[in-house]
Symmetry: none
Subunit: 325 residues, 2 copies
């Protein structure tokens, strides 16, 4: 059944404008009023949605759970999620879990208490069991939780393979990959596994360093790189998330390594930070805007009662050639 948002979308006006028309409020131009009324007829909209929603406790609020809003990837994801949710008539309630252990739990409670209509989960630390039996709408970014919760993610296997192929073209023989903590259950690790597999098959040796859990700031990444740098004097390539690549490029440059002659670097995510420096970093690019659009689309479907269990939206990635390979 058509809702006020459908009318607004069709008439290309805001939902509040539709409300004004519904309430015969004078502050609407005849032209706009006509557009809205035409849309209502076209959609066979019965202007008593407010009454119909009476018992549905709809808040038009969606919770967005992320590790750290100031992180380039998650900040960009949050930006586009908020824009897409706004288009659908929803407000975005933000929760960054790095500094709030119980933030995730609180949001699940609010969801169950119908204080919000749905959750987009870009960060997951709770025991998976806590999600069993939750019937309210949740969509996950890059996190497998259970088969009732759809996932939106990039094609990480392709991403890791693209990075490996690029380093093989460059003739690299000893590669260091720096990855997130493997205790976090995320398909995002897949690109590292695919990367390693591809290189090992080609007889390239691969060393792996694992970041401590829950590190997100550039300072933390840079401190980590400084700490491990001397342990790998003879590597000819480094592969890791954007901020790791940026930190390694900075440290290697400071130590006089020539990039890309002595050392190749490939970043994973391809956010702005890979393009800000004097040297543009070759990166595997995730379409963050599209990830946000798909996540919102799946969540709104769920909120509107459309069944999308086991749904997985896997988005394509590409290699953006920079000056570090």
């Amino acid at each position: 059944m058509a809702g006020i948002r459908d009318v607004a979308r069709l008439a290309h006006v805001s939902t509040s404008t539709v409300s004004l028309v519904l309430n015969n409020n004078g502050h609407v131009s005849d032209k706009t009023r006509k557009k809205v009324e035409t849309a209502m007829q076209e959609l066979n909209y019965i202007p008593n949605e407010l009454a119909r929603n009476l018992y549905h406790s709809k808040t038009n609020i969606v919770g967005l759970i992320l590790p750290d809003i100031a992180h380039p990837f998650f900040g960009l994801f949050a930006k586009y999620v908020e824009i897409e949710l706004h288009k659908e008539g929803y407000k975005t309630m933000l929760c960054s879990t790095v500094h709030e252990e119980n933030g995730e739990k609180e949001y699940i409670d609010m969801l169950n208490r119908q204080m919000m209509d749905g959750i987009i989960m870009g960060s997951h630390s709770l025991d998976i069991d806590e999600y069993n039996g939750i019937v309210r709408p949740i969509v996950s970014l890059d996190r497998y939780i259970n088969e009732t919760i759809p996932i939106v993610m990039s094609d990480h296997e392709k991403g890791g393979t693209l990075a490996a192929e690029e380093l093989l073209r460059c003739g690299c023989r000893k590669v260091l990959q720096i990855m997130g903590n493997r205790n976090v259950n995320t398909p995002a690790h897949l690109h590292h596994y695919a990367f390693e597999k591809k290189l090992l098959e080609a007889g390239v040796s691969v060393c792996t360093e694992e970041m401590p859990w829950n590190r997100w700031s550039f300072e933390e990444f840079y401190a980590f790189v400084k700490k491990i740098y001397t342990a790998y004097p003879d590597i000819d390539a480094v592969y890791g998330a954007d901020l790791i690549a940026v930190a390694y490029l900075k440290e290697a440059g400071a130590r006089g390594r020539r990039i890309p002659e002595d050392l190749k670097i490939i970043a994973y995510d391809g956010t702005d930070v890979t393009r800000m420096g004097a040297v543009t970093i070759t990166s595997v690019y995730q379409d963050v805007q599209q990830l946000a659009k798909e996540a919102v689309k799946l969540l709104v479907e769920k909120i509107n009662g459309i069944e999308n269990q086991n749904d997985r939206r896997i988005l394509d990635v590409c290699l953006k050639k920079g000056e570090t390979t």
Copy 2:
């Protein structure tokens, strides 16, 4: 927005009867239920648990309005605001105005309709008049709106003066400053005025470029820098916001200018992006975490009925010497 009491008055029933209807409790006659529902439609009363919290007239939700959550300064501000609000028991509802012209208006409406307890406003584009008569809690970051709305800001005059003094120490004679659009009424421009004043007093010539309105992404900043670069062949220093400084450093380097020998660069804000590159940019540092703490503190005071009209929290800034001066 119509509250439960308005509905009760119009339907000639008690507020508790309205609650019974809202909670779909059976002990209400169809006749009474119809009266209540009609009154709700007439008043455009949108019932949900949040609206029902009006009963206790508190939602524990604070609206945060920013131009662009993916911008380094505003992303960091949002991060700390959310952390501080969480400590105080409030949830953060995010609105980025770059892509939502009516976002600010919507939030003001929600605030007036008591759908949120307060607003922290880091972006302001509405006509100032729209704020007159608003008695609900609002705190502004860097924006003067009216005397009832407290402001949190850095000591921008000191910031601009520190930058000018640094360039004078370096013996600069012709400086380019790139600033935000002056149509935006913000004390943040003060650092440019103080910067210019100090340099002109010392006989240094200052050229000023103004960014188009509402530009926030690195691509936009970099495109702008490329566009104006050749117009200033003989400057010996550049001063602007972090992303402008980063973009100028990138472009100048690509064109073979030696930094800092041929060209000095100072950034304003001092977020991570000024430290990510091979060359750390000298910057005027704003304490974003403290700005967030003060904004939340002032807002919570206002929510709790503590009078803080005309209140201004002006935080100290410092110069962080990098490798670009």
